[in-house]
Symmetry: C2
Amino acid sequence: MGQALPQHDVYQAIADPSRRRLLRLLTQGEQPLSALSGQFDMSRTAVSKHLRVLREAGLVTERRAGRETRYAFRPEPLTELRDWLAYFEQFWDNKLAMLKHMVEDGNAAD
Amino acid sequence: MGQALPQHDVYQAIADPSRRRLLRLLTQGEQPLSALSGQFDMSRTAVSKHLRVLREAGLVTERRAGRETRYAFRPEPLTELRDWLAYFEQFWDNKLAMLKHMVEDGNAAD
DNA sequence: ATCATACGAAACCAAATGGTTTCATGTCAA
DNA sequence: TTGACATGAAACCATTTGGTTTCGTATGAT
């Protein structure tokens, strides 16, 4: 009954600077672990664990290709963050919030 | 030399659901610890610690008023989150990203 | 077949996290 | 001045986190 629930959410996933950097790197396209871990000081295994957290949050997908595992960025879970943030935007930047409503609702804004 | 560096950043601060809830509560206005901790199952001390994390991230201020400590929401640090997110928006919502550039740069967008 | 490559799993570890309870202190009220 | 209220500090604890090293196992190249 039902798939395993994700053990990490998007908020936890982006809390770590290394994981944020991984996401950035992956916006340049799908990459195997070896290419990614080459960008970090930590061990390949550690990077692999970070990627797992990102995957559990739905922010990356894995795909085996021969002996490589290729990771790809999935932006969708970031919408939750965006929505969460949107609520607070009214407290520091009305202009942007209004524009978002224009776009999303198709309404004129004054 | 220099002030104590903040031990928590905004990404860590919002990683915890209780802290996100605290921020929401505080958008309704400045409130003392007792009012806030009344909304949670955990102890007053635990809520106090969460508020400290938020304060270290710059998301709340404290002010002593008699025997109370009143906490208030400060939205500014969320701009860092917004900016971080903005980079990724192009990967799932071009329309919004283009509008933001129009607003921020004052440029036409095609 | 052999060997190097690419990776995951497991065991381990130190430090951080999220919570508790107890205690001390300052403030307001009677 | 006595006592209740509001809070922070400290000590403590279990679990999670972020890292390591070692080992096993596919896969691809020679």
